[in-house]
Symmetry: C2
Subunit: 432 residues, 2 copies
């Protein structure tokens, strides 16, 4: 790149897959990235841009002339074009769309009109559709003679004159049948058409459930508007699982390429909330300062009760959050799961109560202390189980993403209950 | 089911998709499940069994006569048959395989010979392959006349006389071309063939990276042995993300259908390890019991330092674990990420030091306490960042799954450092 040798560069990057090109771009310094794209010019494969982080993509795109972007977008599949367009600001977007020919522009605009993260945004607006009264031979001839087909397709849709979807035929089916067989006799009902307004996560679940490779996307009048393919859905599944993992770890929508300031800011909120709950737990401890002064062993042992509760609660919560995300948990089995988790909490509570009771008695040579910590342990483990299941369930019912908000509430419960049960019982037991 | 009315039952379940049938089975009581399968007999779609938890599947299969299972497996795609066979004990497996006709048996046996979770286990052993010198017309005629094709396929492989893979053609490509075009002129190189021994997770990453819909599976001599399709890969991606989420939450390989005892046992190990680290942290507190007795405020405030460090460490760890899992983190950017995380830890440490310093000073009206907790906060947040990134990196280098083991080590570091820094500094500052 630094030598500015366009031809050699084009030769080197030509055999790369678009995702490898994306990695190459991400690995370069910002100034080199822009130079690379500028040098390659027409020979740059813009689909590589769909494989890099938003921030880097925007950085490259803002320095390119809109005219060049418009030309590039026409070469791309419509879903990739939408992917690049959707992060731009509105003025820029309108300007670029204005430079794109009418039919293509209408298509892109329609995709962009659907809500963010909807099936309509992710769909491919090019598809192959034939009327039901055609036969296999006509269909094959049509495919052979038509130059303007989508780059890749795995099924052919069957539509009526008003563009309403009536069925679909997989390509392997077409290849198996004789030329005179009518399409309507071999098409299958498309029971799993996806409304364009549907959230992409929901659409992904339909794909997974019915092992689909592609699905028709229909508008509110059941007219065919596009096709959603499984490679887009794989990205969605990966993203959603990723979001849950990060949310459970107390990290927001973060990318590895974010700067120090961006990262600090995005983590700050979560830590601030945690500080609040930690201070609340400290207040509970503060209620018993006289008790602790009498018996310092309480201060030494109290984090054990809170920490065990926190971990048990996190276990139950993780299982609940995942079961909610994959729709495995519903009103039919909620009762059974609640019973199971409570029993597990009770059982593990009793087991660890015995262990910690013995440890505490031997350590401080005070049997009473062993009894107090054992009872507190059972109480906190059961509360942890209840919090671990009810907090996500209630948040889900309130339409709040349980992966994001559950763990604050659960650990608040286990800290407060843990400290209160242990110190409170000790105060009563030892009469201080 | 309880009425034993086979015909009505068959009628009711017939329109169900295999995954819906799976859900229905999972929702029933154990005895009803067996009755349902027995009643439906030949009309039961065994592929439903691939959609339910291992435990329930085994429970149904062990009561069925092996003869019936052998018949059922022949109806299934080979990957589904392997899925059902792989969990059985060896004697049962051998008996069932013995009842299956030779060719099919060899195929299943070969798949089962590949290691668990390898591409060879997940592949479909039926595929369509043609020689490169055929033309499009011959290929289509072959597909039309051959009754023994796989149930679904999306590409045709091109092989030489020794079964070695030379290329592949997507079905849409075949449909676009004239009958006289030769296959070798339209086939593409199969650059992304998957070795049968490859781990399924690695295979899934190839699919994702190159947006594949299916890939050839080859043996050590580069002979074509099967095809891996994206619907199997979607399950793998989902499972792997699931495993990471559960592991990070301190939950092992658990399923929603597990019993109370199984669940208690699987969570016990993790809680036991946590008890060890909690006791270790308590020992650290115990070192300073005289200091705490002098100044109970220390006992009240100390969980705040530990908790903030624990959360900051978990944030960094979550990001690191995910970046390792998705191969986004490698030796090229590790240095940058370590620098970034350390700086983020320092920055957030300073911010929260100021906040908590002021809170502590106002609460206990002791400026010295504010200074001590502020310094301890900075120290612990930086240590948390370092632990959050180095623990997963080191575990990964040692070939231990960082998702499973990281959080114990990270919270041990943040607890020990948090208590030691705060109480130690206080002991020095106040001279007690």
């Amino acid at each position: 790149v630094s030598a500015g040798d366009t031809d050699q560069l084009a030769e080197l990057t030509e055999p790369l897959h678009e995702s490898e090109m994306g990695d190459l771009i991400a690995a370069l310094e910002p100034s080199e990235r822009q130079e690379l794209v500028a040098l390659l010019g027409d020979r740059f494969d813009y689909s590589a841009l769909t494989h890099i982080d938003d921030a880097i993509r925007l950085e490259i795109i803002t320095v390119l002339p809109n005219e060049q972007i418009a030309l590039a977008l026409q070469e791309l599949d419509s879903d990739d074009a939408v992917y690049i367009l959707e992060d731009m600001d509105e003025g820029e977007q309108a300007d670029i769309l204005g430079r794109i020919p009418f039919t293509e522009r209408i298509r892109l605009r329609r995709s962009l009109d659907y809500p963010e993260d909807s099936a309509g945004r992710r769909m491919q607006a090019d598809f192959v559709a034939v009327p039901p009264y055609w036969n296999v031979g006509q269909t094959i001839d049509y495919l052979r003679d038509n130059a303007d087909l989508p780059e890749r397709f795995s099924q052919i849709f069957v539509i009526d004159p008003t563009f309403r979807l009536v069925g679909a035929v997989d390509l392997d089916r077409i290849l198996r049948e004789q030329r005179e067989v009518r399409i309507e006799d071999i098409m299958r009902e498309t029971r799993h058409a996806v409304p364009a307004e549907m959230d992409q996560e929901e659409a992904a679940q339909i794909f997974e459930r019915y092992d689909l490779l592609s699905a028709a996307v229909i508008d509110e009048n059941e007219r065919l508007v596009g096709v959603l393919t499984i490679d887009d859905v794989v990205d969605v599944i990966q993203e959603e699982a990723e979001e849950d993992i990060l949310a459970l770890g107390g990290v927001g929508d973060e990318e590895l390429s974010d700067s120090v300031i961006e990262t600090t800011r995005s983590r700050f909120t979560w830590l601030m909330i945690n500080l609040g709950t930690a201070v609340l737990a400290s207040f509970v401890i503060g209620l018993f300062d006289a008790t602790i002064q009498e018996m310092v062993a309480l201060a030494v042992l109290m984090p054990i009760v809170a920490s065990m509760g926190g971990n048990a609660g996190t276990q139950t919560m993780t299982v609940t959050v995942r079961a909610l995300a994959t729709r495995e948990l519903d009103i039919y089995n909620a009762g059974r799961i609640i019973r199971r988790e409570t029993l597990v909490g009770l059982l593990n509570g009793v087991l660890f109560a015995v262990v910690i009771g013995i440890v505490a008695t031997l350590w401080f040579w005070t049997p009473g202390l062993g009894v107090v910590i054992a009872i507190a342990m059972v109480v906190n483990m059961v509360c942890a189980a209840l919090a671990g299941i009810f907090v996500p369930l209630i948040l889900d019912r309130m339409k709040v993403d349980p992966a994001v908000a559950s763990s604050v509430f659960v650990t608040t419960v286990t800290d407060v209950v843990g400290f209160f049960a242990f110190l409170g019982l000790a105060a009563v037991w030892f009469g201080i």
